[in-house]
Structure formats: C-alpha cells, structure tokens
C-alpha cells in the first residue's frame, strides 16, 4: 500500500470511509443530513451551513412555499427537503458546499484574478516583456513620481505615476510584464500537462484496475520505480533527448512522465468500484463492460480524480518553476516564474531582493490558492474524506 502525502489514499484496500456512490440517484443528500459529516463538533441544525442549504432551497423551485412558512419553520423544512435527493443534484450540492468553504472560495477568486490578468494583460503589452532599457536596470518597485495630466479646458492635475510598477530587472525590462507573461507560461504548462496526466493516467489506470492481470502488475511495478526516481532529473534528461525545450516539449515530457499518481488513483478507484454492489447489480443485469465502465464506474470515480487533478496542477506549476530555476524550462527571453527566480544569485549579491521576492510571491500565492481550491473541492465532492 502506498499513500500520497496529500489528497487521497491512492491505492490499497477499499476505504471504509468511501462515500455513497454520488450518482444523481444516490441518496447522498439524505445521508449527508443524517450523518452530519461536515459538522463535526458543531451543533447540527442551527449552523450557517444548514441555513445556506436553506438559502439554496429557497432559491430553487420551493421559493413560494418556504416564504409562506416563514424563517423559523424553514430549518426543519430543509432537513426534510434535502433528505429527498431528487430535490437537489449532486453537483449543485457540491457547489453549495464549496461556496461554504470560505478559504477555498476566496482562493478561487484570487486564482481567477491571477489567471485573467496573466492571460489578458500580456496580449496588450506586446513586446514589453523583452524590451531592454540599459539605462534603468534594477529600478526599484513601487517608485511613484508625480505626473501632470492635462485635462480638457486647460486644466491639469498631478497624479502619482510609475513607469514600472514592479521595477525593472538586470536588463531594464519591465518586471510586471515579465511576471504576467511568466504566469501565462506557468499556468499553461500546469493545465495542459494535467490534461495529459488525466488522459494517459485515466486510461491506463482504468485498464489496470478493471482488467487486472499482467497490465496491472507491469504498470504498478513501473510506477513504483518511476515515482522513486528524482523526477526533475528524469524530466531534464528526457527534455535533453528531445533536443531542446519548448512549451510543447515541456508539456509532453511532463505529461508522459508524471501521470503515474493519477493512474494509480484511477486504478484504485476501479479496483474498489469494480467489486461494489451497484456494479455487480449492473453486471447481473447483463450490462456490457463498456456500459459498466462509462455509465457506472467512471462517474463514481470522478470525485477523487478531480481533487487530485486540481492539487496536481499546483504540483506541475511548482515543477515547471523548479525546472526554470535550474535553467531547463522555456529558454529566455521568454519568462516563466521559474526562470525569473533563476537569477537569484546575482540579485542577492547585488541586494536586489525584489527580483526574487516578486516571482516567489506569485508562485507561492498561486500554488496556495490551487491547493486550497482543491481542498474545497474535496470537501464539496467527498465530505467524508475530511
């Protein structure tokens, strides 16, 4: 049995705490209210959570009825209503639970901000990220000067202004532009490589878990060894074999070498679900393998995969940064958060700490937000895993 340090138990015996199959027809809502797994240590019915559910219920088709019965009665009502699972879908319930997780919701907002700024702003900045100004290297960040702005009718106002909000680097390039463009590289690699993990790991893990036998054996033994390898080293060696790093090569190599965790998780899900009662029932009814896999097992195995994939994106972003730091990610002048950090020795020696601090902050904030969002998704999809 192998256990990952974060997220789910990725293999081994069936977990006793596995939730009820979260299909639309699964009575998850009822179980949730009955067991109150989200509310350990808190009084059950008066919590904000219940009233949030009440809010959702009110917002749904039952608006008129709920408002008729008034506020006081609505809490009792909720338990009864949610106990009927057809009232509120699994995914909808998950969204409500996610929004209840304040840190996760806040992280999602911050993350969206980072994604939107680093995707949109570089489009309008053109070549700013590589325009060098040798006369102004190491301009300090947040240095404002006053600037007169002419208004119509002969008026003018002076406003604080800065040419380089985050300063400039050793070659006088705008640090903010580099940071934003670097973020685009980091996020692209993170998302695309994760897509690769899900495709490769999902298919191979599912095959190994469902059919077992030699595929399973070979895959698991190979996984043991690959996971023990110093991953960065293997990625560096393989990208070298591709003859140079580009975004495509980087994504391909990371995807080809990193899918093992997802694969193992998928396998564990299939191993457990293959033997579950509802799959046996489907099999007894004469369902084909195809139908069992895609209609019964896959939908029920999604929750941990989604969580692991979310957390995995931050892992890939950190990996890309580590590679960039070592000089094995996208080559300059194209920035990435990793290669922005790569010039740390010079920056520290010259006392220009902000050169290191800004990309580090961007990187850690992004990773932290992704991890918190992943945690929120886990709580939302799989409340018993807390």
């Amino acid at each position: 049995m192998r256990l990952s340090t974060q997220g789910f138990d990725t293999s081994g015996p069936p977990q006793p705490g596995r939730p009820h199959p979260p299909g639309r027809d699964g009575p998850l809502g009822g179980r949730l209210m009955a067991d109150q797994p989200l509310e350990k240590g808190r009084p059950p019915s008066t919590s904000a959570y219940t009233s949030l559910l009440a809010g959702a219920q009110v917002a749904s088709a039952l608006e008129a009825e709920a408002s008729l019965r008034g506020q006081a009665a609505s809490e009792d009502l909720v338990v009864a209503e949610v106990a009927d699972p057809s009232e509120i879908g699994f995914w909808r319930l998950a969204v409500i639970r996610f929004l209840h997780h304040r840190a996760a919701t806040a992280s999602l907002v911050v993350l969206l901000f980072i994604v939107v700024t680093s995707v949109i702003i570089p489009v309008f900045q053109g070549d700013l990220y590589r325009l060098q100004d040798y006369t102004h290297p190491y301009t300090q960040p947040f240095q404002f000067h006053t600037r007169a702005v002419a208004l119509p009718a002969g008026l003018s106002v002076t406003i604080p202004w800065t040419d380089h909000l985050f300063g400039t680097d050793d070659l006088g390039r705008d640090e903010l532009a580099r940071l934003l463009r670097g973020g685009r590289v980091s996020l692209t690699v993170g998302l695309l490589a994760m897509l690769g993990y899900i495709i490769i790991g999902g298919i191979l893990g599912a095959l190994a878990g469902y059919y077992g036998g030699w595929i399973d054996n070979a895959l698991m033994r190979l996984t043991d060894v690959i996971i023990a390898m110093p991953f960065i080293l293997v990625v560096v060696a393989v990208t070298a074999a591709f003859g140079g790093v580009s975004l495509t090569v980087l994504v391909l190599v990371i995807a080809l070498l990193g899918w093992f965790e997802i694969g193992r998780l998928m396998r564990a899900q299939f191993l457990v679900l293959r033997e579950s009662e509802f799959v046996q029932a489907a099999r007894a009814l004469g369902a084909s393998d195809y139908r069992i896999i895609f209609r019964h097992i896959v939908p029920n195995s999604l929750a941990p995969i989604i969580v692991s994939a979310t957390l995995g994106v931050s892992g890939i972003i950190l990996l890309e940064a580590a590679l960039g730091f070592l000089g094995y990610s996208i080559p300059p002048p194209e920035p990435s958060w990793g290669n922005l950090l790569g010039s740390y020795e010079e920056a520290i020696a010259l006392g220009q700490t902000y050169i290191v601090a800004l990309p580090a902050l961007a990187l850690v904030t992004t990773a932290l937000c992704i991890n918190l969002v992943g945690d929120g998704i886990r709580d939302a999809l799989d409340p018993r895993q807390r």
Partner: protein
Amino acid sequence: MTFYVIRRVLIGILLLLFMSVAFFALTRLTPGPPFTTGENPRAHQELIDRRLHNLGLDQPWYTQYPAYLNALVHGNLGDSYVYNQPVSKLLMERVPNSVLLLGVSLIISLLIAIPLGIFAATRQYSKLDTTTSVASYIGISIPSFVLGIFLLLAGAVWLRHATGGVFYFPLFGMHKSDTTSLDDLAWHMVLPVVSLSILSIAGFSRFMRASMLEVLHQDYVRTAKAKGLPARAVNYKHALRNAILPIVTLVALQTPQFVSGAIITEGIFSWPGMGLLAFQATVTRDYPVILGVVMLVAALTVLFNLFADIAYAVVDPRIRY
C-alpha cells in the same frame, strides 16, 4: 509466500533491465555527445573524437548496450567521464552525504510533525488545529528552491548584516576548507536541514492529522470511549497505534529517495550529495554517472517495495499472497 517472493524478485529484475535499457538509450539518443558541453572550447576535435571512439560512444546505442549490461551484471558501473573515477566510488562518497542530510531532516520533521498531527486531530477545529492547517497549507505550497533562496538570504545575508558580520550560517558545502570537525558540519547543515524539514513537516503533519482523524471516527474507538476509558488511553493507546501505521509505510517507502538526494536543496547550498552529483552529471552528459544513480535508486526501490509487502504479510495475518 516463497513463490510470491520469487515471482516478485523476477519481476524486479525484469524491471531493472527495462530501466537500464530505457535510460541507456535515453542518454545515448540525447543530441550532442559528451565532452562538448562545459569543456575547453579550444579542445581539438580529433582528441574529442578519439576519446569518444575509445569509449565506444561512436557506435549506435544498441551496439554499446550489451557491454554495459555485462559490466553491470558484474557490479561494474563504469568510470565517470568527468571525474575519471569509478562511478561506484563516486556513489560511495556521495550517498552518505545525502543520507546524512535527508536522514537528519527526516528525523527532525517526524519528531515535530507527528505530535503536531496528533494534537491537531485530537483537538479538531481548535485554534491549534486551524493554525497547523494554515501553516501546513502554506508549507506545501512553497517550492523548495524558494524556501532555500530565502533561508540563504535570511540566514547568511541578513543575519550577517544584522549582527555586523559576527553571527551567520555558512552558505556552501559541508565543511570549511581546512576542518572536518563535527560542530562545523552541524553548522553547515542548519540551513539545508531547515529548508528540507519545513516542507516535510507540512506534508507529514497533514498526513498524520488525516490518518488520526480517520481512526478516531472508527467504531472501535467509540467503543473504547463508551466503556469509559480516559481520553488519553483512547487516543494514545488505541487510536495512535493504527493511525501511525500509514506514516511508517510512507517513510519506509521514501527511503530509496534518501539515496537519490535532494537536487534543488543540495544545489542551492552546494551540498555534495547525490542530487547534486546526478544533476551535474545530466548537465555534463556524464552518462555512466547518470545511469549509476538511476540504477541504484531503481534497485533500492524494487527491494524496499518487496520488503514492505513482505512486512505487511508478516504483520497483518489477513494479507496473503
């Protein structure tokens, strides 16, 4: 059981064979031969060619491979191109350094993380629990090189400025150039060990908390509480024993990684361990060293996984092979 072990050993050997072929081909197929990177730019091409020829590197990889495999089976990992020393000797020098660094950091982080995880789990939703959770979230989100850079900055640069150059941690390596004393070694270990420990404390304490929480919600724990056992006995005698098992497994399975070292931390602090050796070997195309590291780690992994599975069967009579 015997049959199972034999089968696993055979699978392990096949796997090692596969790894050796894959990495042998990988290194040989990398464009640009050795001796062209980081070497004297004025070196004569004839000299380089002669050396490549002497090492057989002008042959296609599948012609070279049988000789490598033959040597490997006889325990000969070849000579490093860069150091002109047997790879096995290099590994023998470097492995203890990595094991020392990672071992000390592992012990420290377990000593901190396990109690932290237990306290957080037994006092779920308390201030301590929340603080630990937040701290560990931040901990797992900081990449090792960011932490390394800032420790370097704080421990060596700022501290030195703040104390007027009197008190600071040494930056690089294991020893001052003229000593091998233990306290000098300990002094040099502080920054890299702290850098490695913070990350693993974050991971381990989260893991311990999750594992403990899972056990605490099991029926037998409720039974123990119901029959009136004091909380101490329930938590530490009944629950802890089961909750700590996954962590033991995790640590046991991570042991081979000790040998592969910590590339980035060793790189930042110039710690002469396996990670640094392996990384430099990749940069300089020192094929025998790359393969030596890979094969050593792979062999140890196969071995430790087998041990772990056998240990399970011994400890838990329900598991049969």
